[in-house]
């Protein structure tokens, strides 16, 4: 195809947006709302994952060392614990018995019984390894392995807490995937039908093109460009709306210090950090949905 004719078709595609402005506006609105909903759903599900991840980070296994083992001989336990880094261990922190004792003394829970600490005299606390897991689903396996290490006297693992977290994470993942899938399907159906109405309104034009010998590709190009153009505009508009909506929701939560402390919301996605990536993703998704929706809905009218 000559470049002059190709540029003519591209121009026709853009001009068609205005000529068919009512259907263009309908397609624009449908695409914009679809992308807004999908964008918000993606951001919120990512945030939920981050928040759950933050809570999981607060989850620690305490490995108490046998009191008879001197601190100077504990390096082999550190090595064993750290050898599981690739499997489930995130970090290992050693807390000597003196520090553990001091922490207990300083704990405000025991402030009314401080005299008891003085009465005990000798430090009864064992040295402890505080182990954080990056894969909380393997907490039972980790506890069994740690318990079997020579020189380890006891283990404290928050099994119930871990189980709740796993359930919450799995449930949110499933709900997130279900909502996102349903949204994508509903959006595709609506976009397909809107595009079909738009194409149906111009079936005569397509019929004329077929009769004068236009190839299917030649007929599709302006529709493709038109769908893409509307999609990009809708992507940009939905990006702006997503930014406003998302920032408003996040600010409501981050302004509450209690929620912030519990859930670690300080680490959620900051929209402005991913602003340009989000704009590109929105415009790309809009262009693809618009173009593919239009092309798919043309099939029947091309059979002349």
């Amino acid at each position: 195809m000559r470049s002059s004719n190709f540029s003519y078709l591209v121009k026709q595609g853009v001009v068609s947006v205005w000529h068919n402005r009512i259907m263009s506006f309908a397609s624009f609105c449908i695409l914009m709302v679809s992308l807004l909903l999908i964008g918000l759903a993606v951001l919120i599900s990512l945030d939920i994952s981050i928040v759950i991840g933050n809570i999981e980070d607060k989850n620690e296994i305490l490995v108490f060392v046998d009191g008879d083992v001197p601190d100077s001989e504990l390096s082999y336990i550190t090595e064993i614990l750290q050898s599981y880094n690739n499997e489930f261990v995130d970090r290992v922190v050693f807390r000597p018995k003196e520090e553990a004792w001091q922490m207990a003394r300083d704990n405000p829970i025991y402030r009314d019984v401080k005299a008891l600490f003085d009465a005990v005299g000798e430090n009864p606390m064992p040295s402890t390894f505080v182990v954080t897991l990056w894969d909380i689903t393997r907490i039972n396996e980790a506890a069994d392995i740690f318990r079997a290490i020579e020189g380890v006297e006891e283990i404290y693992a928050p099994y119930d807490f871990a189980e709740i977290l796993i359930t919450i994470r799995n449930t949110f993942s499933m709900i997130g995937i279900a909502i996102l899938s349903a949204l994508v399907v509903v959006c595709l159906v609506i976009i397909y039908n809107t595009a079909r109405s738009s194409v149906f309104a111009r079936r005569m034009q397509i019929n004329i093109m077929k009769h004068v010998g236009a190839t299917n590709a030649f007929i599709r190009i302006p529709f493709f460009i038109e769908g893409m153009f509307i999609g990009i505009l809708a992507g940009a508009a939905s990006w702006a709306l997503t930014r406003v909506a998302y920032n408003s929701v996040v600010s409501v939560f981050t302004e509450d210090i209690t929620i912030l402390q519990i859930f670690g919301l300080a680490n959620v996605i900051v929209f402005d950090d991913i602003m340009w990536l989000a704009l590109a993703a929105n415009c790309f998704a809009g262009a693809m949905l618009g173009a593919i929706g239009t092309i798919m809905s043309m099939g029947k009218h091309l059979k002349v």
């Binding site: 000559r2 003519y8 078709l9 034009q205 019929n207 093109m209 004068v212 236009a214 190839t215």
Partner: protein, 227 residues
Amino acid sequence: MVELKNVDVYYKEGDVEALNDVNLRINDGEFVFIVGSSGAGKSTLLKLLTRERKPTNGRVFVNGYNLSKLREGKVPKFRRSIGMIFQDFRLIPNLTVYENVAFVLRVTDRSRRFIRQRVPYVLNLVRLSDKARAYPSQLSGGEQQRVAIARAFASDPGLIIADEPTGNIDPELSYEIVELLKDINKCGTTVLMVTHEHDLVKYFGGRIISLKKGSVDFDDYIGGNDG
């Protein structure tokens, strides 16, 4: 050249035949009227000639293409070798007269320079040079049909098929439309015109093919009154 050999068309198995053992030959440069009442098979014949459908039996040749065996991918190229004129004009409403005519040349991938020369030429031929910038909705029925004729002739096809081109315009303008088609025919283009208007056929005369119940009922030349 148009040739149909033992062509049968029926739309459903065991249904009444739309065309029944039709044999026709139209040589290059002829002007032929195709007449017949509703249901005679005129529309089916046109669909065969434009490759909108294939015959159930028999063979159809147009401009050297065997349409009975033509693959879908080759249909656009074949259609560029014919010009179509419709009763309802079928102009693209959001394009100007100039653009409607130029459109068919863009489809055939002609250069911008060729389009700039050819479109004014054919618009002048149908006496619509002054309406080049107008949109179809701003034209009368007769003018719209003249644009359609210009569009059909723009790519200089070997065959023009006109499907009741005078059906939607004032009777007095019908003669003007046929005159235009006659002028194009004089340039060597074969013209095949389907019509209901017997007065028009009698006036212009020439080769008449009459279809009746899916078969060729009459195929001969009659004298006209147009001198």
